[in-house]
Amino acid sequence: MIGLGALILAFLGYQLVGTNFLTARSQDLAQQTVEEHFVAAQEEIEVVDTLPSSPVDDNGTTQQYPPADEPPVVHYREPKPEDGQAFGVMTIPKIEAEQVLFEGVDRATLKKGPGHMPWTPLPGQPGNAVVSGHRTTYGAPFFDLDQLQPGDEIYVETALGTHTYVVRDSFIVTPTAVEVTDPKRGAWLTLTTCNPKFSARERLIISAELVDGPNFAYALAEREFVPAAAS
């Protein structure tokens, strides 16, 4: 009985304390590599699209956007990071969180910090960028995510610049609710983590909308004027 108790204590100690040290070290190392990534990736930023010369709205009506006397709306894209690579820094002032983001959501990557689902757009790009992170182990980057409320800001710095998001919604789903990763019009950031704390029974979802950044005007124009099927 004593042995079993010691084993459980050792397990909890390793998961709730020991793993935090591993992640803290990974985050420290990544602070430097992410800066190097920014420098390298900034040379490969490309203009993907200028929107739109003669867009149509949802009713099929041709619009002039932007107005003729304003510069075109540009969609910038940065190179896709390699699997496991540090590519951005996410700051959430409300919960005093600052985390280096990594590409991928496999077990090894999530031990280093929050991971970006590779099959979704990068943060700052039009669509629905999804980032997952641990709630109670491995640095617990999303421990206080439940404190976020509509209106709270989230900043993501990538090679392209700083992207500002505002929380629009938070809700709880089952672990298999893949619909939260579906594409969306405009530019969105979806954060996912385990819920409740110390359990993987559910997922807490934070949905935030891009309100400023290099691609904000493009995302806004696309949301307003380009039919969803074409986006």
């Binding site: 084993l7 050792a10 397990f11 390793y14 998961q15 709730l16 793993t19 959501v105 077990r107 999530l110 991971g115 689902m117 997952s132 992170g133 641990h134 709630r135 109670t136 182990t137 491995y138 999303f142 789903v173 672990p175 298999t176 609710a177 893949v178 939260v180 990763t181 996912t192 983590t193 385990c194 110390f198 359990s199 993987a200 997922r203 807490l204 979802i205």
Partner: protein
Amino acid sequence: MRRLFAGLPGPPALRVVIVVAALVVALIALFFLFEWAGDVLDTGGVVGPA
């Protein structure tokens, strides 16, 4: 514990090696057990098929 040590084959030096090797194997097994069981507390928050 001493009786267990004494029951091991070979000279004392070999017994120490056996004990150390057994401890290393046990620690590695414990690590993987903890990693596997850690998913009960926190899987990393990914949504997707079970």
